[in-house]
Symmetry: C2
Amino acid sequence: MTTIQGKNFIGYSLSALATKTFRSYVPAQDNYLEETFHPATPDEVEQTMALAEKAFDTYASLPASQRADFLVAITEEIMALGDALLERAHLETGLPMPRLQGERGRTVNQLLQFADLIREGSWVEARIDTALPDRAPAPKPDLRKMLIPIGPIVVFGSSNFPFAYSVAGVDTGPALAAGNPVIVKAHPAHPGVSDLTAQAIVKAAQRTGMPEGVFSMLYDDGHEVGTALVQHPATKAVGFTGSMKGGMALYKMAMERDEPIPVFAEMGSVNPVVILPKALESRTESLAKTLAGSVTLGAGQFCTNPGLVFTVQSPALAQFEASFQQEIAGVASATMLTAGICQNYRSLRDEAVAHEGVKILHRSEAEANHSNQAEATLARVDAKTFIDNPTLQEEVFGPFSLLVVCEDTEELYTALALLKGQLTTSLMADAEEAAQYPQLLRLLTRRAGRFIMNGVPTGVEVCAAMHHGGPFPSTTDSRFTSVGRDAILRFVRPQSFQDWDNSLLPAELQNENPRGIWRLVNNDWTQAHV
Amino acid sequence: MTTIQGKNFIGYSLSALATKTFRSYVPAQDNYLEETFHPATPDEVEQTMALAEKAFDTYASLPASQRADFLVAITEEIMALGDALLERAHLETGLPMPRLQGERGRTVNQLLQFADLIREGSWVEARIDTALPDRAPAPKPDLRKMLIPIGPIVVFGSSNFPFAYSVAGVDTGPALAAGNPVIVKAHPAHPGVSDLTAQAIVKAAQRTGMPEGVFSMLYDDGHEVGTALVQHPATKAVGFTGSMKGGMALYKMAMERDEPIPVFAEMGSVNPVVILPKALESRTESLAKTLAGSVTLGAGQFCTNPGLVFTVQSPALAQFEASFQQEIAGVASATMLTAGICQNYRSLRDEAVAHEGVKILHRSEAEANHSNQAEATLARVDAKTFIDNPTLQEEVFGPFSLLVVCEDTEELYTALALLKGQLTTSLMADAEEAAQYPQLLRLLTRRAGRFIMNGVPTGVEVCAAMHHGGPFPSTTDSRFTSVGRDAILRFVRPQSFQDWDNSLLPAELQNENPRGIWRLVNNDWTQAHV
C-alpha cells in the first residue's frame, strides 16, 4: 500500500523544509489523522517554479502521443492506488464511498478524454491560408495558425471534489494535455488524498519519461504559498474552484502583477430554477421529488446546487410546497466537508431565513453522534421581499433552497432580471408552455452558461457540448468552461506562422497534414493535405 | 456631399448638449478646420447606453442574414461617401491618399468577410452531444453548445488607422457581426472622418431595419466619456488600439468594476527581427532595402513597425549597416498623425539614442515648410549595452529602428530571452540555416503572436490564419486576435442548452441543421443533421 509522504512534491523530489506542519481533519469524527504535512517555504516555491519553467520547453515540444501516454499512465496509477484512495477520501471529506467511487471514475474518464483529444489533434484549431504571390497590389503571404501551450499553470484543488476538481482534476488534465507544466496547491481539507494522487502523477511522469518539473504539488494550510505561486513571474495562468472571496483575491492578485495573467475562478452560483404553472400542476409530486434530491445531493455541496426556485401563484402551489418540504425531510442528514464549511452554511442560512418575510418550510435535524452535519433547509419568500433584498440571491453553500413565489409573470420577470450571472438556469415546462414565454427564455438564457429544460442543475456531464462556466460572478471569465474538452482552451493561445518553410512548421500545420486533423484551409474545413 | 455634423450619434438622433467643443487639427499645416465637435455629456452617455441595452435583445435575435445585410450596407454607404471621405482623412491624419484608399479597401473587405462568416454560420462552434437515456448508472442528457453575443461593446477608435481600426474597423465589424450593439468613442485626432463614417453606419442601420441603439458614436477630446463608457454597467467588453498608458488605464478601470469585463487592448510592440549570418551575407542589399521600407512605412506609425533588428558580428555586417542607413536616407520624410505623436516620437527617440553605447547611423531631416514631420532614424548598439538597459526595448512609435549587434549566438539568445511579449518576431534565414538554431526558433516563437520567416512585420493580412495579438504587454489578452475572422471570438461566450426541446433551440443547434453549418456531433465534425 502506498504510504502518505506529507512532503512537497517538487519535480521528482520530496521536500519538507518547513518546521511547521498541519494534519488531516476528519469531519465526521471531529478529530485529526496522524500524518503531518509540511507547508512549502518560499525557497521551495522558487525551486518548484524554476523546475516548471525549465520543463516547459521540453514538455511542450513532445509529440501529442507522448503527452497522451502520460495522461493514460496517470489514470492507471490512480486506479492502482485501489480502495485505499477512496477510504482516505472518505475520512478526509465525509463524502460517502459510492459518491467517491463515482467521482474517481469521472476523474479518470476526464483524463482519458483529454488523451483522446490530443491524440486525434484537431483541437488545435489549425487555420491555413496559402500564399497568392501574384496578387496585386501586394502579394498575399502564406499564413498558418494553431493553438500552442503558454507555460506553467497553477492549480488550486477544490474542497468539494477531492478527485474531479483537485490534484488530477479539471484543471490539471487539460493544462497537461495542452503541453503546460502544472503546479498544484493542494487543498488543506484533503491533504492525504492529494498526496496519494500526486504520487500517482509523479510515477506516471517518470514511467513515461516526462521532463522533471512537468508536475509539482505544494502544501499549505494558509495563503502564503498560493499567493507566492500566483505572483511568480513564471506562472502563466491559474485555475481555481472555490469561494467568491478566495477567487476574487486570486483574480485581483493576478491583475496587479507586472504581467497580468488569466485566472479561471469558478466561484459560486445559486442556479435558479423556474417552474411554470402548467408544469407545476401536471408534475407537482415529481418536481418536488426531483428538486429535493438535487438540493440535498452531496449535502448540497455543489456549485450547481439549486438555491433558488421561482414559481408563480397557482392552485397547485400549496400541494407543491407540502410535497417539497416532505421530500426534503425524507433525506438523511449528511456530513459536510469541513467544520468551517458547516459553520458557514449554518450562519449564511440563518442570515437568509432571518429576513422578514422569509418563512422556513422545513429544517432537518442533524443526527446524534455525528459532527458537522448539515441540516437540510427549505424556505419560502414572496417575490416582493426577494426583489427588495439583494442578499437573498447570495449563495448558501449547502443543502438550502429558497422558494420564491411571484404574484404574476411580470413580477417573475422583474425578479429574474435582478439575478447576477449564474452557472446554470433551469426551466420546468413542456415545449408548448415554454414557447408562450419568449421573454422568459431570453432572461434565463442570458444569465447563465448552461440552460436546462426539465432537469436539475446538479450533474455536470463531461462532454464537448458542456459549458461549465457562466457570467460574472459565477466565474471570472464566462468565455471558458472548466468541464469538457473545451476546458483545454483556457491554457493555450493562438500563434501564426507567416511564410515558414514547411519543414520547420509544427506537424499540425505542414502541407502533408501528417496528423490527419481537421483544418480550415482557405476558409474550408478539410482533412486533406494542402 | 455629406456634411459633417459634429454632434454625438445617439441611436438615430444627433445630440449636442455640451457647450464646450473642439476642432480637427491638420498636422501637415499646423492649423485647425472650421467644424466644431461636441464632447458627450454624462446624460448623453446614459442615453446611449440605455439605447444599446434595449437594442441588444432585438439585435441578437435577428437572423444572421439580416446582420450580414447590415454589414454589407455599411460598406456601400462608406463607398458612397466617395473621395470626400479620403480627402478629409488626408487632412486630419496627414496620411497620403494612396495609403488611405488602400485602407478604406481593407476596411470594406473586413466588413464583407464578417458578413460572409455569419452568413455561412459555422463560426458559432456548435457542439452537440445527444442523449443516452439508458446509460447506467445515470442517463446522459442531451447537450448542445454554441457561441452567443454578450451585449454592448465599447470601441475606441485608434489614431493611426482612421478607417481600418476606427469607427467601422476591426472591433466594430466583428462585434456587430456577432450580434452585439456597438458604442464608438471617436478618436479626437480624426473627428471629421469619424463623423462621416458614423453617418454611413447609421444610414445602413436604418436602411436595413436594425433596432435603434445598435450603433452610437460619442465625441470627446479628453478622457471623461471613455471612462464613463468603460465603467457603465451595461458595457460587456472594450476594444482599444493605442498606447500602453491608455490601454492599461482602461484595463485597470475594467478590472475594478463590480463586474469586471474584458478589455482587448493592443498596446505596442517593437517587433524584433533577427538576421542570421548566412542570410546577412547572401542578401545584404535586399535585406537592407526591405527593412528600411518597413521601418519608414507610414512614417513608422504601425504597431508592427520593426523597432529592433538583431544580428551577430560577421564580415557582411559593415556592408549591411552602410546599406541600411543609405536606404533609410533615401526615404522622404513624412507627416505624423498629430503634433503630440510627433513630439513624443522625437523625445523617445532622443532618449534612446542618448544611452551611452548607442550610435546614430542615420538621421533624416524634416522638409522645410512641413510641420510635424518625423525624421527617420537608424541607430546601432552592442548587445551588452542592450542587455544592460531594458528601456532600449521600449517602443519608439515612429520611423526608428535600433540595430542590436551581438558578439555570438549565445549573446543573441541572452538578449532575446529578455524581450517582453510582442505582436511579431521575424527571422531572416533560409530553411537550412534556420534549422541549425532550434533554440532560436523556440525563443522567437514563444515571444510573439505571429512569427515571420524572411518577411517584415508590417502588412497584416486579413485572413483566418492571421493572429494579430501577442503576449503581454503587446496586448492585454494574448488569446485573441483583432484581425481576421477569429476577431469575432472576443465578443461572444459559449452557452450550453441541456435537454431543450428541438423547436425552442437556436437554428444552429436544431436536429435538422437548417443552416447547414459544420458541427461537432458526438465528437465528429459533420454538416449532417442529427
